[in-house]
């Protein structure tokens, strides 16, 4: 499995990339997409919605189950990757290109892990 060094990770299996001006991009990790299996539907928030760290902001449905996606940050949604609504399989194909949302005015964040720490966390699970 692949965990790019430039990203941060959460224990609930989301990845986070900081961008300029207190913005952040969020998606789910390679481990998450692999455990979920083939994704068939995704529900995303709308631009302007508020997200809070530790709370669900989207859900993904695979052939196995529906799961919440937890926001690692508090802020407001400024961009949504609408493409995923029609092609959720992109999350399975390339989880780090298939970003879910971009959040601006990031105020707070959950405990974030580096790639190494996340891999260690997965091994200990």
């Amino acid at each position: 499995m692949n965990y790019p060094k430039e990203l941060f990770y959460t224990k609930s299996h989301e990845w986070l990339k900081y961008e300029e001006n207190d913005a952040a991009v969020v998606g789910i990790t390679d481990y998450a997409q692999d455990s979920l299996g083939d994704l068939v539907f995704i529900n995303l928030p709308e631009v302007g919605d508020a997200v809070s760290m530790g709370e669900s902001f989207a859900d993904v449905e695979s052939v196995k189950a529906v799961s919440d996606v937890i926001s690692p940050v508090t802020g407001s949604v400024c961009e949504v990757n609408e493409e995923l609504m029609d092609e959720p399989e992109k999350i399975n194909e390339s989880p780090y290109e298939a970003w879910f949302i971009k959040v601006e005015n990031v105020k707070d964040h959950e405990e974030l892990l580096t790639a190494d720490e996340y891999e260690k966390f997965l091994k200990e699970k």
Binding site: S35, E61, V63, K64, A65, V66, S67
Partner: protein, 473 residues
């Protein structure tokens, strides 16, 4: 296999009608202007078509069906016979009440027996299925708090292992959901519960035994904690089969319950219905029950009823089957069924746990959960692949990937109606599949090979399902 529409041949039929001796008076405006697309096919071809379909399907009449959490027990044929008695079948809910004595007796006695089993004081048969019963129960809790003017009580506590219908039913009734995590033994985490309980707590929804097939020993403490906060306790009857005749939800602090009588009381699982999910409650909630019921003043609505949740008396014939089941097994049979269900599950678990990883290694109730995480890591063979391989042994796969708190889960519920010989055969199959998966993982990934269809495209089936035949004209 061809669809029945593909077997259709224009002009072919089954009936020879007598010639028309009255004037046809259907006005042009009432005539259909498109073909009605009914298959035209002879009777023996129809019989062969459906027999062929039945041969391709797997049911509890065909083989072992250990679908966890669903209690696929045998439905005694005698119950079907009783329920098909024309005196039950041809009754109408609006016929004069003095002509319905027998049916009213059925409702009254079933209510009495099910209340005795659950420790409740009253029960409604209106809900048409389990989740409908949950929703009704939530409405009772809502009506109770409204009457007490507890307007701040807006939250229902639900454990993370709960059936998905629990939070859905509570939300439908207008509550907000507060999730609590299970501890490492799959039980309600008392510390977490204490933190989540507040003045907003309207109630808690629990199954016991819980969704991983374990009995929560803290149950008295849990219900006490919720009561102390002014909340009510809701018992999801999904797993009652493990404890019926032994533990009564009403005795351990529950105020409201629903029963899945298609599971516990041996009425068929439907295939779309009709179902029945009676909802029972303690005396202090009786006034809110839905529908017309036998009250002190005759047949009428309760004083502060939540209204109707379905028409009339619910799916009455399903209730007849449940009563027939109860009368045929008797009160001793009720607890004996539960004991055998638990014995069968433990027997299977003990015969498998030297090679399969058990998610919670302790005495289980009526079902147990395996986790195939290690097998998947070592060989790439997942819970899904093991399930597919079971099809080649004529066994319906267990429930997979549920509960969500266990990874690569297989949830096995043999039920009490299977013999030791059937269990032994299934145990052999499970063991053989596991050993084969270790030796030759590729073979497991290709299973099943003996079924009419192999691996289906599950992604396409979910995203672009083809559900009906497209006619050319």
């Amino acid at each position: 296999m061809k669809l029945i529409f593909e077997k259709s041949y224009q002009g072919r039929g089954n009936h020879i009608f007598p010639s028309l001796d009255v004037e046809v008076g259907i006005p042009e405006s009432a005539m259909r202007n498109r073909k009605n697309h009914l298959p035209e096919i002879s009777e023996n071809e129809i019989v062969r078509h459906y027999t062929e379909l039945a041969k391709r399907a797997h049911g509890v009449n065909t083989g072992f069906y250990p679908l966890g959490s669903c209690t696929m027990k045998h439905n005694p044929k005698v119950s079907e016979r009783v329920a098909s008695n024309p005196k039950f079948v041809n009754i109408h809910p609006l016929q004069p009440i003095e002509t319905t004595e027998g049916c009213r007796e059925v409702l009254k006695r079933t209510e009495e027996y099910l209340c005795e089993i659950t420790g409740m004081d009253a029960m409604t048969f209106q809900p048409a299925a389990g989740a409908h019963g949950e929703f009704t129960g939530m409405l009772l809790i809502k009506a109770y708090h409204k009457k007490k003017e507890n307007y701040d009580k807006t939250e229902i506590i639900v454990p993370d292992s709960a059936h998905g219908t629990n939070p859905a039913s509570a939300v439908m009734a207008g509550f907000e959901i507060v999730n609590i995590k299970s501890d490492k033994n799959g039980m309600v985490d008392l510390k977490e519960l204490e933190e989540k309980i507040s003045e907003k707590t309207a109630g808690i929804m629990l199954t016991n035994p819980n969704t991983v097939g374990l009995f929560d020993n803290n149950i008295l403490k849990i219900t006490q904690m919720v009561h102390d906060a002014g909340g009510l306790c809701y018992y999801d009857g999904a797993n009652l089969n493990a404890v019926m005749g032994i533990v009564r939800p009403g005795d351990v602090g529950f105020d409201v319950t629903h029963l899945n009588i298609h599971k516990t009381f041996s009425t068929p699982h439907g295939g779309g219905g009709p179902g029945s999910g009676p909802c029972g409650c303690k005396e202090f909630l009786r006034q809110f029950l839905p529908g017309i019921r036998e009250t002190k003043n005759g047949y009428e609505m309760e004083t502060e009823t939540i209204g109707n949740v379905t028409g009339y008396y619910g799916n009455f014939l399903v209730v007849v089957k449940a009563l027939a089941y109860l009368l045929s097994i008797g009160s001793d049979g009720v607890s004996l069924s539960a004991k055998n269900a638990v014995l069968n599950a433990n027997y299977m678990m003990h015969k498998l746990k030297d090679i399969y990883d058990v998610a919670y290694d302790r005495t289980c109730m009526h079902e147990f959960v395996l986790t195939l995480e290690k097998l998947k890591e070592d060989t790439g063979v997942s819970a899904l692949d093991i399930s597919k391989a079971l099809l080649d042994y004529g066994i319906h796969p267990p429930t997979m990937y549920f509960p969500l708190i266990v990874h690569e889960a297989l949830m096995i519920e043999p039920t009490e109606t299977e013999s030791k010989e059937v269990l032994n055969e299934a145990i052999l199959a499970f063991r053989k599949i596991y050993e084969d998966a270790l030796k030759n993982p590729d073979k497991a990934l290709k299973a099943p090979i003996s079924t009419p269809v192999g691996r289906l495209d599950e992604v396409q089936a979910a995203r672009k399902p083809v559900l009906r035949y497209e006619f050319e004209s």
